[in-house]
């Protein structure tokens, strides 16, 4: 442990580590806020910009509270594995999403455009007893939700539709 005289000062490490960290923060956490693609809402974003007193807004709170985002993504990629899920997600779709729930694990199916897939009655039956509708499903039962919560959640799920302009949207 001798002969490395320049390694006797803490400041090299403190300052070096801080600067390198801040450069990374600037690149990956700050600059994206100034990217054009992320800065303009589109029709889909407007459809998902729920007013605070709407059923969809309350339904979204239920969605968050029950941790639906833990197993369901909202994230359609231009890859074969997502080919039947609907229009490819674009940054502008998420403009008003707070918190953003793009997700990281698909234990269940993607829900980006789930409003297109089923109807409200289907959702009700499915949430109360998923195994009855989809035998073999490992989704938990949500039969403990209050009627209000259930209807709000269904309203939120049914609102997850692409705007008419979005259908058949090409990848850019």
């Amino acid at each position: 442990m001798s002969g490395f005289a320049n390694e006797r000062s803490m400041f090299t490490y403190v300052i070096g580590a801080s600067i390198l960290f801040l450069i990374g923060v600037f690149g990956t956490a700050y600059l994206p806020f100034y990217d054009d693609q992320m800065q303009a809402p589109n029709e889909n974003a407007e459809l998902r910009n729920y007013s605070v007193d709407s059923a969809e807004y309350r339904g979204r709170e239920v969605y968050i509270r029950e941790g639906c985002h833990v197993c369901h993504t909202m994230f359609v990629r231009p890859v074969l594995a997502d080919s039947a899920l609907g229009p490819i997600s674009q940054p502008a779709d998420y403009y008003y999403e707070a918190p953003a729930m793009l997700g990281s694990k698909r234990t269940g199916a993607d829900l980006m455009w789930v409003g297109n897939r089923w109807n409200a009655d289907w959702h009700r039956e499915h949430l109360i007893n998923p195994q009855k509708i989809l035998p073999g499903s490992i989704m938990p039962r949500y039969d403990y939700l209050s009627d209000q919560d259930m209807e709000d959640l269904i309203a939120y799920l049914m609102s997850l539709k692409p705007s008419p302009q979005t259908e058949g949207r090409p990848v850019n």
Binding site: G16, T28, V70, A100, A109, Q131, P135, M139
Partner: protein, 463 residues
């Protein structure tokens, strides 16, 4: 659990170590419940348990409890022991350090209660609500103050490699925790999700990884009685991990709604992480030269070296998964939990086990109770982890290809899940083995602590 007087210099380390063991057990029980719910979705659906053990609610409890209750507390306990040793002085602010131990436990308790009640910010690994985040930041600030003050008042001029890593980690943790947990209503959209993953990836990379690597650098020369292989490799390893790791967040949106420049800015550093990882591993293997026979009968060294190898495997997977092609197949599948358990359990929990086996005898003044239990702990953990990871990786690849063939929602998706049941079973068996291993670990440490107390008491009475 703690009955020593406050004059005990190792009190903070003890508090952190002993509490971390409690969180290890509870956190892994949550993990097991999750694994069983993959097989029987109605597992423990009984009265109020249906709600408080609902999958979506307890998955964040499992991750937070093990990351912040077990591994962070074990790391802090290790820091409070190792830093004074490397600085040849005593821990600064010992009373604050003791308080921090209780404070941190309080955070884990209230955090878990909040998550059980459904208060979550959705940030992965940072789901605790804002007011708890503020407590965490206060706690981390105290931690940084204690450690930096200890290092500033050192009696050893030279800063050893481990201290570089510790100083870096103690700057990065508060920084990324604050940025990652900004009030979520203030931000929105994809940039916010990028911040979530800036935090989620870096809390692993700039806290658990860097503290773990620092501890490897500390323990390895002791356990092998060899000099650390190369000073130059240590330098390369430290400065490249500091440069590249911060940039890893965007690869979590690979193929997703992000602009091309950001995708490149995320993927290139992800792949370049091979540089620091291989530098660390070359240093580990170089130091091990001529001492491999010692691994056979030195369990702490066995844990340390196996941990380093798991670190290598994780960081071979990481750059591979971040590329567009592989990502388009394995992303979102069960591959991901397999990959995520490898660093936090395989690599850095193994380092923490090694640290505890090495440090505990020195702070309770008694040798580890049983070598056989240590060996059992090692082999059950390793077999369990390998079953867990290989089953999830295989299932993940199958799922990825099933999606490509169209099983993306509805009945086909569920049929795909049904076909994965054998893998979910293997995962559960692996998880159970991992859990049982920790029971042996804790029994062993408990016996050691008890014997240490007994021999100390007889010593005091005879003196």
């Amino acid at each position: 659990m703690e009955t020593q007087t406050s004059s005990d210099t190792y009190r903070p380390t003890k508090i952190f170590f002993y509490s971390s063991l409690v969180w290890l057990v509870i956190g892994m029980i949550y993990g097991l419940i999750l694994a069983f719910k993959f097989i029987w979705p109605n597992f423990l659906v009984w009265g109020p348990l249906q709600v408080i053990l609902q999958f979506g609610r307890i998955r964040p409890i499992h991750t937070n409890m093990l990351l912040f209750g077990w591994l962070t507390m074990a790391n802090i306990g290790a820091l409070f022991y190792v830093i004074p040793k490397l600085c040849r002085n005593q821990l600064s602010f010992p009373k604050m350090a003791t308080f921090l131990g209780y404070f941190w436990n309080f955070i884990i308790v209230v955090g878990s209660i909040a998550l059980t009640m459904g208060y979550t910010t959705v940030t992965e690994y940072g789901e605790w609500p804002l007011w708890i985040d503020i407590l965490v930041v206060i706690g981390v600030a105290m931690l940084a103050m204690i450690c930096f003050s200890t290092i500033a008042n050192r009696n050893e001029k030279q800063l050893y490699v481990s201290l570089w890593y510790f100083m870096g980690s103690l700057i990065w943790l508060p920084g990324l925790y604050i940025i990652g947990n900004l009030p979520y209503k203030l931000l929105s959209g994809v940039p916010q999700f990028l911040i979530f993953w800036f935090y989620g990836h870096n809390v692993i990379g700039l806290w658990f990884t860097t503290v773990g690597v620092g501890l490897i650098y500390y323990l390895l020369p002791y356990l092998t009685k060899n000099p650390l292989y190369s000073h130059r490799l240590s330098l390369i390893g430290f400065w490249t991990i500091a440069t590249f790791y911060v940039w890893n967040g965007p690869h979590h949106l690979q193929n997703g709604p992000i602009p091309l420049w950001l995708m490149k800015a995320g993927i290139i550093p992800s792949v370049l992480l091979i540089i620091p990882v291989w530098a660390v591993l070359a240093n580990v293997f170089g130091t091990m030269k001529g001492k491999w026979h010692a691994v056979a009968h030195n369990t702490p060294l066995k844990f340390l070296v196996t941990g380093a190898i798991f670190y290598l495997i994780t960081c071979l997977q990481g750059p591979f998964q971040s590329l567009q092609g592989p990502s388009s197949i394995v992303k979102f599948t069960d591959w991901v939990p397999g990959h995520a358990h490898l660093p936090v359990f395989g690599a850095f929990s193994y380092v923490a086990f090694s640290v505890m086996y090495y440090v505990l005898p020195k702070i309770v003044y008694h040798n580890i109770y049983s070598n056989r239990l240590m060996e059992t702990h090692f082999w059950l953990s390793t077999i369990g982890l390998l079953l867990f990871t290989f089953s999830t990786w295989t299932a993940g690849v199958f799922e990825g290809f099933a999606w490509i063939e169209g099983a993306q929602y509805g009945l086909q998706f569920v049929e795909m899940l049904t076909a994965m049941q054998p893998f979910f079973w293997i995962r559960t068996v692996g998880g159970t083995l991992m859990f049982v291993a920790q029971i042996f670990f804790i029994i062993n440490l408990y016996k050691t602590i008890q014997l240490g107390k007994k021999s100390q008491n007889t010593n005091e009475s005879s003196a």
